[in-house]
Amino acid sequence: MRDDEIACATLLDWLEGRLPDDASAAVAERVRNGGPDLRETVGWLREFLEFTRTHWLHDVPPIVGQSLREAFDQHRRGGEAPAPRRIRPTLLFDSRSERELVGVRGGPMHRAGDVIHLAYTCPDADLLLDVTVRPTGDLDLAGQVFGRGGPGPPVFEATVHAGGRTSRSVDGDDLGRFRFTHQPVPLERLTATNGDIVLDVALDVGRP
């Protein structure tokens, strides 16, 4: 093999630091003494590696693909997409009420690690929420929407109003799950939409 004929894979191993010291030194020596073609190849590989280090391609939240599929269907049919229906689901279950029933003391908000389970229902969907108290006193909120009565879009985008602040989550998955972390108290309101419906629930969690 001539000095300027080092396999591309070997050059990459060298540039990426995957070779043992002695093999790495040998490749470095051959590159130093190599011809212009070899140096050009090394230069191109270095440039590629440097470029890709700052140009990652991030996965896109599933809600984007879902919305764009619907937008295309709407475009094909012509006309404007109807506004999503706003629904206020009814509270079905609140674990804090259960605690009161069995005589557990401790007030409406609890210690670090305590979890409040909430369930809401409406004709279109059920909504489950778990609120967890963090050691710092702020809250994590995990939710899941179970659609009913039809194959509506499964991915939900959620917005939570907490402590005077609004946060939005676009990272819901195709099981209808979403999550917020480090929310200030109190949790006041949550909305979740899949483009067809907007579930809107008033929350009362973490008030002194």
């Binding site: 396999a7 590629f48 996965d59 778990d130």
Partner: protein, 197 residues
Amino acid sequence: MDTDIDQRASTLSGTTTHVSARSDAELLQACREGDAAAWGDLVRRYERLVFSVALRNGLPRPDAADVTQSTFLALLESMGSMKDDHRLSSWLMTVARRKAWRLRARAAREIPNGTDGFREGTAADGVQGWEREADLYDALVALGSPCNELLHGLYLDPEEPSYATLARRFDRSVGSIGPMRGRCLQRLRGLLGEDAR
């Protein structure tokens, strides 16, 4: 309550770039004729590029998702009048970048002290880096499967999957990944107009 909602709601990890056999021009033409599958292919081909452009221009994920969506909606509206179907990546990046800038400018105006609190873009987001990214992305698409997916996994995936993970994904031995990436990069270099060795 026995649910699994405490599991992390996350985007699918370890996904690979979807590679449609059809060219951009063919997909665009099919979209104009109302082919929803072609639209899905087009979105899957470029959504990560557009989303990453928005993130690199300093937007948080929810805003970057909005920019991605509105960029593709702009494509949907403009498809009938597009003059060059062969430079779609550049077109999408241009629109996404402009939308990201506008969003940042609007956010900055809404914040009393005039700073928007967003991250600064990197030098690599300059025009030169931007054009190179479009070229690179086009070449990766042209490279096809499995090189497209392999190079994406090795060099463009922020999860940085290990060789072992990639070997499982491609149903190959770990030892074959290194030589395969060498061959794929040589082909990529050829497609980018260099003399592949």
